[in-house]
Subunit: 365 residues, 4 copies
């Protein structure tokens, strides 16, 4: 398979051909009938770009400052569990590639590499840590302490997973982590993901994670640490407003890659109402379905300050480890620059709301 890789989709194709079923199914699946999974990409197609001409686009500035860190472009790798199933480079490969690309790396609680090892191996990457709240609160407290010590710059609390989504393929496969891998931030029981008859990861989450967390726990977390707190998994203006009230530092509009509840809006469909509600007061970020430069442009025009990639990073890692991710990010960045130039936007200030419209705008005649 010697095909030239020219777009993110090409990395996906490579990974689909390479990964064994247990892993591939875990990576690619969405919840239920996978309708929202499909919509996460399809909804981008329903948005149209209105490009402006005859502007000097010889010098583009796509850098940005996010939570006091400088990024080469508004890009990050979203937290995804168990990245060594894709490639031995695993979390370190992704973190280093993000660093080289001037992008954020968010490490999942459920990583195959300990947070300390990631921190040591990718010291120059802007790293955030994604948090799940365990029933045993002290586990989460300990994690927070270690995260602070290791130099992560923000805590990303995932709020769309009080219980685990129903991903059919994992149940059919009786998903387990391969024997040579574990959840490296933990020890003993807590480091193992093995099937008890169904999806091992579903069972792990059901047993360990706390489905009773509420907005009060945001206050608890804030008092626990001085790291900025980001909520990941906000899909409504109502919750965005609450997030502002409870003093969080940022939110990621996300439907968890359509892996939690089928039938929720595509991420990009939910973004506008959230950005309209709190975008001026709060850091609004985005993930879900990003595959091309014009997707990034749309998310930014609709109010996101950073966008994150979930599966694309896993697929690029599967294809060729850290180097695969570097290549993929390079291709995507160039595609985004082409988009900025062809939209007539040398900088983010030049992006206006009128530049992204719904396809139905053209039904007026």
């Amino acid at each position: 398979n010697n095909m030239e890789l020219v777009c993110v989709k090409d990395f996906e194709r490579q990974a689909f051909a390479k990964l064994e079923k247990n892993t591939l199914d875990y990576y690619k699946s969405g919840a239920g009938e996978q309708f929202t999974l499909e919509q996460n990409r399809a909804a981008f197609r329903r948005l149209r770009l209105r490009p402006r001409i005859l502007r000097n686009v010889s010098q583009l500035d796509i850098s940005c400052r996010i939570l006091d860190e400088q990024l080469k472009w508004p890009m990050g790798i979203a937290p995804s569990a168990m990245q060594k199933m894709a490639h031995p480079d695993g979390e370190i490969g992704n973190a280093r590639a993000a660093g080289k690309a001037g992008a954020i790396y968010i490490l999942s609680t459920l990583s195959n590499t300990s947070l300390e090892d990631v921190a040591a191996a990718a010291p120059n990457t802007c790293k955030w840590f994604q948090l799940y709240i365990y029933k045993e609160r002290h586990l989460t407290e300990q994690l927070v302490r270690r995260v602070e010590r290791a130099g992560f710059k923000a805590l990303v609390l995932t709020v769309d997973a009080p219980v685990f989504g129903n991903r059919r393929a994992d149940v059919r496969n009786k998903f387990s982590l391969p024997d040579h891998l574990n959840l490296a931030n933990f020890e003993g029981e807590l480091a193992n993901v093995t099937t008890m008859g169904g999806s091992g990861i579903y069972e792990y989450v059901t047993n360990q994670f706390d489905p009773s967390i509420t907005w009060q726990d945001i206050s608890w977390l804030k008092q626990l640490t001085s790291l900025p707190i980001v909520l990941k998994g906000v899909l409504t203006a109502e919750d965005a407003v609450l997030a502002r009230e409870f003093g969080v530092d940022g939110i990621i509009v996300s439907n968890h890659g359509a892996r939690q509840l089928d039938s929720v809006p595509a991420s990009i469909e939910a973004l506008p109402e959230v950005a309209k509600a709190v975008g001026n007061d709060m850091l609004v970020m985005f993930d879900g379905g990003i595959m091309e430069g014009n997707d990034i442009f749309k998310a930014i025009a609709l109010g996101a300050k950073v966008v994150f990639l979930g599966r694309p990073a896993l697929y690029a890692l599967a294809h060729n480890g850290q180097q695969g991710v570097e290549e993929m990010l390079e291709i995507l960045r160039k595609d985004f620059e082409t988009t900025m130039a062809l939209m007539g936007c040398p900088s983010f200030e030049d992006i206006t709301p009128a530049m992204v419209v719904h396809e139905k705008t053209f039904m007026k005649l």
Copy 2:
């Protein structure tokens, strides 16, 4: 075929592989071009769930009280004719499985097991009886008497079948009931379903059922019995209002599994107008196209107090008799619980109208 069964669709696949043509066609068919049949499911996909975060969902309460009976969840098995064609367990299998699941069982007039036998075999199930009105009114009167005696808790009068729908496959197959089966609530002629050249069941209905029934017959029925009366097959606000005026106890918004008239709205499309018109004054229930937990959630959010399954119960029965139905209901209940939790709704009171919106809501930008 050793596939793990993880969703209702899986039971359908099993049944499609197992049932012989005469039966499968009868079960799966819709009227005419089967456009509404397809829409019964597709219309759910056009509705989107807006989930709320950070609510304590560790304790879910999905029980409910319907017509003075306590249910474990708002679920029932819709009346469907001739269930022994699916499996020898037939009506009894379904009724017992419903009972175990804490759900309602509605027995069809056209059952392969007599209502007395079903009552005896599933004493602890909340059972309702579905009524057709025969041209010979005394037949219906006798049925009502027996139903009362056998301890059924409600009469469900099907009002969308004054004549029988045009189901092409049954005509092509010259549908007959297999020799060893009959309509067990009747004797002689009335117990037989045999072809006279076309669909045997079409011919039976055309000969026996009364196409002249009107709202006045509701009064007649009310005076005949003190059982609660439910109308099954209401699709418009106009008729819901009439139902209220004529003093019925509940209605089931239903298009008869798209088996009567092709081109009518999907059931879930008709629900909102009905619920808006009478939902505060009357028990509004729903069937048509339910396959997943999020379908149930949508129907409830749009005003249904209970939802019923037609084909899924037949398919699960075909797969593995009573046990198949138990498994299917268990899977569906868990999927519904996951939906409740991920929607941030520990109880039905937490469900709000803003949680279910039409996809076009996201076309605003």
Copy 3:
């Protein structure tokens, strides 16, 4: 091919398997990319029926009176050219079958049977004659005289064909009438349809028909004959209003079976604006895409007093001559009666506008 025929579509399938390419292509083709051809049927699917319950539908009355003739139901066979290519029974087979079914038969100018022979063979059928205006006006005048003499009850002037539509298959096939057939209302040159390099029928029309006709020619025609005049091929409210002003007796909303100009609205899309504009003052009729009972119901609810079948009659004729057409009409009439009953409409007076709505009605929530 021994399949039971249970719907109009089945006759189409039979004809597709039976007819040779030259004929089949001529019958089935639409203009250009055949987009409107597809829409003629698809647009019906976008309309939904809202059925009413508990009305006495034991006695249906679907008869009607049209231009002083009594019909068993509001049905007719649309004019189509050269019907003997389908089957030796040709125009006579269709005319007789229409008569037996209590429906109208419209004979095309371009028939393979002379109008006198049709009149003689089907004396009891309500027959109308479809007129094209020849450059040589006296040809049309003579036709009108013969039509009057033969006892046809109305003249149907086709107004959507000043030039002939671009039907690609006919050009590719260099369409000619088979040697043993001719245009039986004419003699010599005018009776022949042979290719001069392209589609023979295109060339015939281009040479013979008058592209300069205007509303003034309606006045000319009215003064020529006292037969009622119907315009066939009206698609806009604007032209319907003009038709009323110029004193025609009826119009047929039609896009000529999508054979003239691709991209025009589906017939059923155009019907409402026409009926709204002139439906109270004028006989509005309809053709295009009718395949099922619910299609007929929709057309009537939207304002048509009669509907006509084009291709279905040709396909049924191809399948089995006059008898095929009788069977097809019988199936369709029963399907229409089922629709009336299941809509709760014992008669046309019971049909209300609220019974047919566009699918988008259900997007409101």
Copy 4:
């Protein structure tokens, strides 16, 4: 492959079968996922024609006067690079065919035939020259001088290509111009298109064209020449208004055949807002997706005074050189005349806005 060619699509089919991959991919590709490429044609299908009847259409006048030149119909061939890859007749074949058809020919800067040779070979064709602005401004200045001298009648400045679109197939193919061809308006380096690892044409454009051009450069160009200046690649009302302010003579609404930025509107979707904004004051023209007579009619009804063909001319050239293009234009012109006649429009004055509506117009009921 002896198929009768009866529509533009047929020429496309021929070319697809004939051209080798490097060339075919270059010709047919759009940017990115090619979503807009598909929409360029699909958006036409969403527009419906409302035809008027009983108007004298025996004499059609479809001639027009554009920038002081008389055309037989409102048609032109859009500039496309490197036409000799299609056929040895190349630019000259296209230019001569356009002349014979009474249409405009726009020569691309990036032609395989020098502008002087085209001018000499097609003296009677109305020729315009498409301009790209090189970083080395004197190159563009020299071109303008040569263009004036050779008798071209207008300069068409392409404004949607400050950087080159991301066309994946060309990157995969490492597109180069075949050895025997060059960019004939240039010499040495500038005449070569060879790969440096990716798409040779992408690399050429990136190295040579000036991404810093702005509206000020329009003023520069105007002062450089007295030829009329047309901007090609306007997609918004905003930019159309600016074009008027900066005194250009005309604009072509175009998305460059969807080759620059995927996700922009279909050309025909963008036309109405542009025509509404400036159509009364300025020459508005159109290209993108034209395949049939009814497409041309729609573009004109929505405000275009001329339409241009990109790929169709290349495909017809590939099929059979100059003669292929002549045939294709003849077929298309006849199809357009049929459309005019069937719309009841003997001349452009008869076209009204009510004649072209969006499909959603028919959702009102």
